[in-house]
Amino acid sequence: MKPADSNGRVKGGADAVLTASGLGVGFFPEGKARLEVVGEVDLCLRPGRTTALVGESGCGKSITAASLGGLLPRGMALDRGEIRWAAGAECRPGRGLAYVFQDPGECLDPVFTIGSQIREVLPKEERGGAGERMSALLRTVGFEDPARVLASYPHQLSGGMQQRAMLALALAGRPRVLVADEPTTALDVTVQAKILRLLAELQRQENLAVLLITHNLGVVAEIADEVHVMYAGRVVESGPVELLRNPRHPYVKGLLKALPRLDGADSRLEGIEGSVPPLGRRPAGCRFHPRCPLARAVCQEREPEMRRRGEEGAVACWACGEGGWA
């Protein structure tokens, strides 16, 4: 994480492959006014680093991810902020930018073999020696018998294998940025652990910039370098992953306390009162104020901006930092 400037904006480092600042996505329901789905999102993706977007259902993680590659659902538009790519990096799904999803069905076509799907996305100059490159790709994602997998249709592979095949497909176009949206959510924990290890390894080997989308703070702690926690369309706290040891934002604190512990040292969990507001019913001021144990009058009236937190990272909360009460 780069030091944030005084108003919390993350500066894009010279080494960044993708820098997004002030991103905002609007939803335009027919005949109605723009609804903000996400806003004021700053991201800085760097080679060999994993940046996590984490938060509860509906907070806007997937929409943020989709906006980077022009994959927004119908009725939505990326209409605020800007995205800058490093020179030479193309912003196009399948090339500079690749996606993997929770459901391999979104990437893998059931009627073609894995091999023919991978061949399809290989850069032109590699199509000649395609066989070798494809076998190498499959070995990279942990298959010991590439030939068999290349000849298989997706339904002939288990969930974990499909996830690996999807990764191979994503890597085939030699992307610089890999966006992984809940890549392990549907998998058993033992398979999840293997895929996470694989992701971390690929990120290092291929010098990939990874944007990891997940609702699971444990997964973030396992492999992310930087983390942005989102709530109701905004990033509320961001910084190096160690911030999860000692977060500042009341929502992030609440999330961590709500998790049951493996050592069983908790007879009662502290949940957060209420639930996440749906789109269109997000409150004014700080969006977390109806659920926040620290809320004061100012929280209902004015939205807090991201402010710098120590040397690195930033937090959006009136109670935190100078003049605050937390």
Binding site: T190, D225, V241, L244, L259, R261, L262, G271, V276
Partner: protein, 269 residues
């Protein structure tokens, strides 16, 4: 009242796939003490959901013995089965799938109450429905909402109210919180625990999240490929697992504190 509420011996569940017979549960035995929570841990395909349905008498090809409060569940006659259905209920992962989308929460509860002859008049049913909503921590005003007007956590509460209102003492919950947000999951887990403590509900909790199991279960059984590979008090099994498979499960569980600890030792954060 003595002895365990549920006693299962050498339970086997099979499915037919064409001519082949596949055994999903291969001779499992356990008991659940009154007012206790038994956790069933395992990954997909381990047979835990088949086991859950079988103990409620909802599977066709079953052998072995399932005893509920001293009664043999697998050979119950019609009247006995109805009474058993009231006392032992299932709670599912996806509450939206198990609620009628065209029925308001209050009406759904009232219907169950009347089907089981527990409320004579409409007014009586409505009053009881309101009471049960409050029991699961919801304002009675939610009786007027349709399932799609409720959050995931609220729908799971309605689901629990529906099981409790007919007098269930034994609840089999198959991944009851895995579709919920963490902040809401904590509320529901607290509710499940208070139902155990304050109403003496006996639970069989099926799940894959070991931290949730550690929090909820008194005893656990760990299943793999239809068999129990390890069993014992949750505090022992989940802190000092003896079986390599349980160890692998435990090592694979993503955990914030443990991951940060490990990475800072390695210098990768």
């Amino acid at each position: 009242m003595s002895g365990p509420l549920m006693n299962v011996e050498d339970l086997r569940v099979a499915y037919r796939a064409g001519r082949r017979k596949v055994e999903a549960v291969k001779g499992v035995s356990f008991e659940v003490g009154r007012g206790k929570c038994l956790g069933v841990v395992g990954e997909s395909g381990s047979g835990k959901s088949s086991l859950a349905r079988a103990v409620l008498g909802l599977e066709a090809e079953v052998s072995g013995r399932v005893e509920f409060d001293g009664q043999d569940v697998l050979s119950l006659k019609r009247a006995g089965r109805l009474a058993f259905r009231r006392r032992a209920q299932m709670v599912f992962q996806d509450p939206i799938g198990s609620l009628n989308p065209r029925m308001k929460a209050g009406a759904a509860l009232a219907e169950v109450l009347r089907v089981h002859g527990l409320a004579k008049t409409r007014a009586e049913a409505a009053a009881q429905a309101a009471h049960w909503l409050e029991t699961v921590g919801m304002d009675a005003a939610y009786a007027g909402r349709f399932p799609h007007e409720l959050s995931g956590g609220q729908r799971q509460r309605v689901n629990l109210a529906r099981a409790l209102c007919v007098g269930a003492e034994f609840l089999v919950a198959d991944e009851p919180v895995s579709a919920l947000d963490v902040s809401v999951q904590a509320q529901i887990l607290n509710l499940l625990k208070s139902l155990q403590e304050n109403r003496g509900i006996t639970w069989m909790l099926i799940g894959h999240d070991l931290a949730v199991m550690r929090h909820m279960a008194d005893d656990v059984i760990v299943m793999k490929a239809g068999e129990v590979v390890e069993r014992g008090p949750a505090a022992d099994v989940l802190s000092r697992p003896a079986h390599p498979y349980t160890r692998e499960l435990l090592a694979s569980a993503p955990n914030v504190a443990r991951a940060l600890e490990r990475r800072s030792r390695r210098g990768t954060v």
